[in-house]
């Protein structure tokens, strides 16, 4: 995997298997968000309490903010899916492309990718903690998404205005 800064924003070059991995997790996250997540432990992770010591205030805050947060998180997951599917379409249209060396256009949607990856890693961290004796493949995915997150952050660094 390597991440580059291009004129149109940030580009991610990675192997087909890596693109499929992101796609699977993006689709899962989207489904989790659509499901309403009642009774799902991931709900508390993705939507932490604003008032941990006050259940009444916490509930009220959640009532006012939950739908908007779900919409934002879903929009991020869907943007990631869109960018990955665009590559998949080029790939199936052309026999001459190297499917393991194609650029996913993150463009200027940096925050959607960063927040999406943050959410995926949060859900993964819980699943790793739940797996008795740990789960190597989940841990590998968690670490890989962390490297991707750091890479996008580094590649987009000077595009953020510094208020100093």
């Amino acid at each position: 995997m390597h991440i580059t800064r291009e004129s149109g924003g940030v580009g991610l070059t990675c192997a087909e298997g890596e693109r499929e991995l992101i796609l699977v997790f993006a689709a899962q996250l989207n489904e989790t968000l659509v499901s309403g997540m009642h009774g799902d432990p991931a709900r508390e992770l993705l939507f932490p309490s604003a008032y941990p010591d006050d259940p009444v205030e916490a509930e009220q805050f959640s009532r006012y903010t939950h739908d908007a947060l779900v919409a934002t998180k879903r929009a991020a997951a869907l943007e990631v899916i869109k960018a990955l599917l665009a590559v998949r379409n080029i790939d199936s249209d052309n026999e001459n492309v190297d499917i393991n060396n194609m650029v996913v256009n993150i463009g200027t949607n940096i925050w959607q990718w960063l927040t999406f990856l943050t959410d995926v890693r949060r859900v993964l961290s819980q699943r790793i903690a739940d797996a008795e004796g740990g789960d190597e493949s989940l841990q590998e995915a968690f670490d890989w998404f962390g490297i991707l997150h750091e890479g996008i952050l580094a590649a987009s660094d000077d595009s953020v205005s510094d208020a100093s």
């Binding site: 939507f47 932490p48 309490s49 604003a50 008032y51 941990p52 205030e57 805050f61 903010t65 908007a68 947060l69 934002t72 998180k73 925050w111 960063l114 927040t115 943050t118 959410d119 890693r121 949060r122 961290s125 962390g146 997150h149 750091e150 952050l153 580094a154 953020v160 510094d162 208020a163 100093s164």
Partner: protein
């Protein structure tokens, strides 16, 4: 020159008129990377790199940091935004 009575009056007003201050607190968590937390502080609050890093390190070493204070509505807006970024943030009364 201020009379004693006026002085007393203004002191009272100060006491009565002081609103409770609220805070936005960001908590340490095992998922978020230090560089990301710093970037969120810079981008969302517009803090300088130095200030954002100072706050990030407070979160990292102390487990929490007050990143903003003001009226409650404003703090709830911050917390909602920070939850959008995937940070653990809470609203609390100023101690």
């Amino acid at each position: 020159m201020t009379t004693t009575l006026e002085q007393l009056d203004s002191d009272q007003q100060l006491q009565v008129g002081s609103p409770i201050l609220w805070q936005t607190v960001v908590w340490d968590d095992p998922v978020n990377l230090m560089t990301y937390v710093t970037r969120v502080f810079r981008s969302y609050f517009g803090y300088s790199r130095a200030e954002a890093e100072r706050l990030m390190l407070l979160v990292h070493h102390e487990g929490r940091a007050v990143v903003a204070s003001g009226n409650r509505e404003e703090m709830e807006r911050h917390v909602q935004a920070l939850h959008g970024y995937g940070l653990l943030a809470t609203v609390s009364k100023e101690q």
